[in-house]
Symmetry: D2
Subunit: 279 residues, 4 copies
Amino acid sequence: MKRFHLGSKLQYRVLQPSTFLFNVAVIENQHQSILSERIRLTPDLSFDKHLSDPGESRYQRVHVPPTDYFEIDYEAEVELKPYYAPDTNIREVPHEILPLAIMPYIFPSRYCESDRLTRLATLQFGNLAPDYSRVQAICNWIYDNVFYLSGSTSSFTSAFNTVTERVGVCRDFAHLGIAFCRALDIPARFVTGYVVGLDPPDFHAVFEAYLDGRWYLFDATRLVSLQDFVRVGTGYDAADVAFATIFGAMEMSHMELFINEKSNIGYQSDVRPISTIAE
Amino acid sequence: MKRFHLGSKLQYRVLQPSTFLFNVAVIENQHQSILSERIRLTPDLSFDKHLSDPGESRYQRVHVPPTDYFEIDYEAEVELKPYYAPDTNIREVPHEILPLAIMPYIFPSRYCESDRLTRLATLQFGNLAPDYSRVQAICNWIYDNVFYLSGSTSSFTSAFNTVTERVGVCRDFAHLGIAFCRALDIPARFVTGYVVGLDPPDFHAVFEAYLDGRWYLFDATRLVSLQDFVRVGTGYDAADVAFATIFGAMEMSHMELFINEKSNIGYQSDVRPISTIAE
Amino acid sequence: MKRFHLGSKLQYRVLQPSTFLFNVAVIENQHQSILSERIRLTPDLSFDKHLSDPGESRYQRVHVPPTDYFEIDYEAEVELKPYYAPDTNIREVPHEILPLAIMPYIFPSRYCESDRLTRLATLQFGNLAPDYSRVQAICNWIYDNVFYLSGSTSSFTSAFNTVTERVGVCRDFAHLGIAFCRALDIPARFVTGYVVGLDPPDFHAVFEAYLDGRWYLFDATRLVSLQDFVRVGTGYDAADVAFATIFGAMEMSHMELFINEKSNIGYQSDVRPISTIAE
Amino acid sequence: MKRFHLGSKLQYRVLQPSTFLFNVAVIENQHQSILSERIRLTPDLSFDKHLSDPGESRYQRVHVPPTDYFEIDYEAEVELKPYYAPDTNIREVPHEILPLAIMPYIFPSRYCESDRLTRLATLQFGNLAPDYSRVQAICNWIYDNVFYLSGSTSSFTSAFNTVTERVGVCRDFAHLGIAFCRALDIPARFVTGYVVGLDPPDFHAVFEAYLDGRWYLFDATRLVSLQDFVRVGTGYDAADVAFATIFGAMEMSHMELFINEKSNIGYQSDVRPISTIAE
């Protein structure tokens, strides 16, 4: 078990009545528990909450009148179970028995145009064993072939760009991983969260592939440890899980994040700590 | 009330064991009822069924061994309530009260990159009244500015292409309509179905916008009457509702559709027959 | 006649032996004369010069060893004849008599994918009179429909992006003007220069269309007066006339420009001062 | 020496007065001589000729009134010197001594967006020896990674598409070769011609890289022998050297090509017959 104290503050100048949809609160699932949590809005407006259909993201929505200072301040203490190393037999799921609710994660999406990467993915990864190691090979390829550079891409950048332009940030690495998986007919999805080790602290993006009946986490950036990743949102790609979707007119004036590991509680060194099961 | 007899036949040569996921069967909802229905596979393989989460599409999945002749033959008799002309006060829904489950239909998707059309949509439609007539204006713009030409586009073509290249088929018209709506923060989605009046008969694609608490159908092609449209699939865009998604290796050898109106049963001429409510 | 004192300074940290190809010096033609000029390199390296084939751009090339400080400092005094307002009969040139050397300016180029804008351009401008006023209509459309925003685009941005994304800088405005012209089979090209009135001072980009046997200048940004524009480079698009093309490894450490009008010499107010002839 | 008898026939239905610019006649240079030649138009219209500035392409222009049958029928007998295998020391040219007239062939163009492939090309080919073998490695990579498939691409397809979509025809193979070269700062250009061995006979496209002071031919398709390639057009990319550029309204009704080798005249087997010098 690991415990984290984490939080984020987003501040805005609101120019017209605006509706904010936030996705900054961590999720609760089999893998992570929220020990305590607090969301504070300034001014103290009421907001409504929503758990997305598949239980994968939590949203807070608030309508804000014009003001020079609007802030959402989120803070939580979270307990995380360690991820176990996958067994040797984590196989891709044959399409005739794939749960039909998982199917949409094979389809292309805004930032993951897997349909345009089919030949490339087949050429590069088509002959590999259809299991966990193949998705790992995808991550290795991305790590080896895409240059991580802050500020190098925009909200328009998609996997189709990244696979050729070969530069990006965590979000682009995740999109390309997802696109390659889907091009090979492996369901894959986008995951955001807080993670220890980013400098400066920021939301992190990784991806999950559906193998052997479960979702497995992958991070092609190798920037951090997935043992220190606390999940916030899960979606098809970044279009689904922006930390803030805003209808109206505003300017962001400030943004900050933090995440600290608290005392290690019973974390034992013999636990094999490589990426694995979520949920 | 109108009654339709409709059906489709898809034939394949299957080269390797392949999984087919079909989306050719019509849906049942408040607006349309299935009077009778039959799905016949040749050879007579067993298949499993799936109703997508929001109750919007039905899928049949079948695993097929290599064979020179595999066919799915679908036939149904359907009763359709007329669509009523919308009232004058069909307003867009303010974002602070939009059901959060509807939110994802504002986000960009594979074929509807609404994020890249924001300025254009605002310039073109931003000053119009935020109601039904604005979506109608979008349809008019598409009809006036995009040339309908069979075979002019491919499965790679997206709204971002169409808005500049100005040529496409029904799928492209629907994608552009959706992209414009979303760029204006109006939820919109993709709908496929059978429709009377296409020559040669083919699956048709239209779109829906979420207004005043309901989904309203729109068709920018003006090729057919929405009174004669029987719904099959509903999704974010064409990536979700292909009539056949296939994992494996095959060649399509034949495809045909038909739809005929049966005797009009109690259809009265004083019903104002313009597009409106689905579901 | 107008006289301008102008110049630019570009400074670099050179990390490896690098070759610099500069295009910062003004051109001499029927319309503009260089009264005096000076190019100073620090360190004082020798360079070779090149006048591009059609006599449209001057290049300075210099090979630079690694150094913390490399500077090119250009300064000139230039005399400019006023541009006259075009007569009423500036017609597009029929393709059967268009000089064949001008033909390539109808073809699409890196940033001006006119082939993809054919239908749009025809729809928007196809019915206008085939003369100077049609290119002016193109400029008006761009001015009305594209938002000028510093820093909004990158060196990857092309006319195909701008026509939909509707935001850009002078370079993007020029590219879109060129693309529309070529889509209508009007030869068009890209022009860079110094201009009075930009804040902060920067290289400016405009475009030329070939009409009635001459090249006519157009500027869709309306930011400055073409009477105060001193030409540097002319090419198919920005790919041809970068102010600096660099082979090697360096960092730009500083860049500045200036341009001032000197005493007006004989400039008479009865001269009709709108865009016209170059060369 | 080899001799070829070759020709092409293009037939059109001309709907409105139209101007045709043809580029179907072979070029004469140090490597290939025209022994006899004939261009016949039906109806027998007069046309004007043009040799493009760098002496690289010949154009015939003709203005055609509406007619049900317009044909250009070209036929030539050509003698070709064998291409010699390059010596071992065919080095890339340092940029400080590259002829400035060659520079534009390093810049990106419509179908060769080399600026977007810089990182990929550097990663893939950056460490190879900067000589002939590096361009050969580029060809090998394209051959190994791009699938040749007739009809798979359109006139919109560029190197940026092909490098990811991994499918194309000779034109796409050439564009990608050019884009990779330019991304490595190697001048490269597009070449069209007649070639023995295509089935059905068609215009072929290859590319040239500028090395050690000369242009060297490369063909990544491996479909034919460059010993049997007779050059027609040379340009930045396919935008420059379409076999027919047409202003007006017409329909192509028929197109055919042929090329046959005549008696081998003094061609000796000890000639090392791999790609080499043009011009």
